[in-house]
Amino acid sequence: MKNNELERIASAACIDLTENEKKGLEEDMENILDWFSQLDKIDTKDVEPAFHPIDIKNEMREDVVEECLDNEDVFLNTENYEDGFFKGPSIGD
């Protein structure tokens, strides 16, 4: 795995890594990916992927309105709110 690959993954995962962490992760991930490669030998031609372990289908809900969360519970776990809105970081640089 190339160094910029790790950067690309970290960027997609939106996570800051220290130089030390990067070094460790690079080694770990290479080992792990290497270990994964044993799956290449398994013939999965004509095998459907199993998204779930059991066969479940067509579970749906009727279009019925239910109760919403109490407003005080909405902001119970944050200090970042203002005038009924959540507060968040900006889009620009």
């Binding site: 690309r8 960027s11 997609a12 939106c14 998204f51 779930h52 479940i56 289908k57 067509n58 579970e59 749906m60 809900r61 009727e62 279009d63 019925v64 309105v65 239910e66 109760e67 919403c68 969360l69 407003n71 909405v74 902001f75 203002e82 005038d83 009924g84 809105f85 959540f86 507060k87 968040g88 970081p89 900006s90 889009i91 620009g92 640089d93």
Partner: protein
């Protein structure tokens, strides 16, 4: 704009008209105070789960069928992961590998020519929340405020092939799309529901994607700007870059997005909290039977069956509620051409002026019938009809009352004769102009009669009488 090589593809999102959100029971409309229509699921709280709304799926199936799409035997939902402050889970539940519809088409009329736009796919997905940029604009704000009331509202996304040739075509296409949705009863054209698009535009070279355009007008504007930008680049000998741009509705311009957002790798996986959905034939067939006559079919029938002109038929068919009133009234045996003319003429004009749809006005079937009767019985003129409609569109008033209140009423032929006498006497010089071959002088005289009659005279009748009297 007549650029030869313009190719536009649209990815358009329309809100599906369900009572509750796509994955939770929060209402889609109601309390507009921020973050009042939210729950653990649409706030993406730890431990919450999506629960899919059957009605949204059924609406998606209908849209796919109405657009002539192929429906899969089975479909599923996926997680599209990317980070953004309006996304509670930092992934959107959408359809990826198997959407509800593929390979359809929309036929629309352009300069009285039929044109077909190919539809690549139709899928169902959830809407994110709404951002407010504080202390600056989208790129310069200090922080954002987020209202998640919209989070989880069901959207139907329609992706076209790059078949659109101009901003005008794109706009017509969007109108057509919203008409079809309205006919299907899956879309609310009157509410705050908006139509949002991302557009792919090329002018011969690389294509650029412009994200986040809201509404018909802005789509046309954004596309116009982007085409001009690309053409100008080429004129200056520079190449169009393949990139993702954002539309800024305040400046009417498009700007490149940050590279990180352009390179987004969504890392799609199957949504493991939902099950696969088998689209059994019996289910799909039942839904397909519920699909009503669609706008282009209805228009064709109006022309064939009622001998309406294409324009009149198109005007009525562009508002589904109007077609209902039209059909109801003529089923009661009223004069087809009078009904059609009133609806496609003055009613449409007044609605457009007020920028509302029929359903948002106070006009209803009973009121239209009264007006039709008055016109048919020659109690009022067409112009009177328009004056009454202007009054009853916004306020709930009775057409009879308005007629009385305004002193409206068609003038008898005797009265017209008298007025013509007077006008001819008072405007001898204009009469002479007309006799000397100045045709438009007659309009002036007709105007005088309309003035005298306070609009109650039938202008055509006035014109005929004037002509007869002058020429004899």
């Amino acid at each position: 704009m007549s650029e030869e090589n313009v190719k536009i593809g649209l990815e358009t999102h329309l809100q599906l008209l369900t009572d509750s959100k796509l994955f939770c029971g929060c209402p889609t409309t109601g309390n507009d105070n921020p973050n009042t229509r939210v729950c653990p699921t649409c706030l993406g709280m730890p431990g919450s789960r999506p629960r899919i709304n059957k009605r949204a799926i059924e609406m998606g199936i209908k849209v796919a069928a109405a657009l002539g799409c192929e429906t899969p035997d089975e479909m599923n939902f996926s997680r599209k992961t990317y980070f953004y402050p309006d996304m509670p889970k930092n992934f959107q539940i959408t359809q990826f590998s198997i959407p509800v519809g593929t390979n359809g088409e929309v036929t629309m009329e352009l300069d009285s020519q039929e044109k077909t736009v190919r539809i690549k796919r139709v899928h169902i997905e959830e809407d994110p929340g709404k951002l407010k940029h504080i202390g600056g604009n989208i790129t310069s704000s200090d922080y954002v405020l987020i209202d998640y009331n919209r989070s989880g509202v069901p959207l139907c996304e329609i992706v076209t092939k790059p078949d659109l040739k101009s901003p005008e075509e794109a706009r017509t296409f969007l109108r057509k799309l919203s008409e079809i949705f309205e006919y299907l009863g899956v879309y609310d054209t009157t509410g705050e529901a908006t139509i949002r698009s991302d557009a792919n535009i090329s002018t011969g070279g690389e294509r650029a994607e412009v994200k986040n355009i809201t509404g018909f007008k802005d789509t046309e504007k954004a596309l116009r700007y982007e085409i001009r930008r690309q053409v100008n680049l080429k004129k200056r000998g520079r190449k169009v870059k393949r990139e993702t741009r954002g539309y800024d509705d305040k400046s009417g311009t498009t700007k490149p997005l940050r590279t990180k957002e352009q390179e987004a790798d969504y890392g799609y996986i199957f949504e493991p909290d939902l099950t696969r959905i088998e689209l059994r034939d019996s289910w799909v067939n039942t839904l397909e039977k519920e699909i009503p006559e669609l706008p282009h079919q209805k228009k064709r029938r109006y022309v064939d069956e009622y001998q309406l002109s294409k324009e009149v038929a198109a005007a009525i068919c562009s508002d589904f509620d109007m077609t209902k009133i039209f059909e109801d009234i003529i089923n009661k045996g009223k004069n087809v051409s009078i009904v059609a003319n009133i609806l496609s003429g003055p009613v449409k004009k007044v609605l457009n002026y007020n920028e509302i749809r029929l359903a948002e006005s106070e006009i209803d079937e009973q009121k239209i019938i009264k007006i039709v009767d008055m016109v048919e019985n020659k109690e009022i003129t067409d112009r009177n009809a328009e004056m009454i409609i202007r009054d009853i569109a916004i306020e709930d008033k009775d057409p009879e009352d308005v007629k009385k209140e305004k002193g409206l009423g068609a003038v008898t032929d005797d009265k017209i004769d008298d007025m013509v006498d007077e006008v001819l006497r008072e405007n001898e010089d204009v009469v002479e102009d007309y006799m000397n071959g100045k045709g438009e002088a007659l309009n002036h005289l007709v105007g005088k009669i309309m003035e005298k009659s306070r609009g109650n005279a039938d202008p055509r009748n006035a014109r005929d009488t004037l002509k007869k009297r002058i020429e004899n």
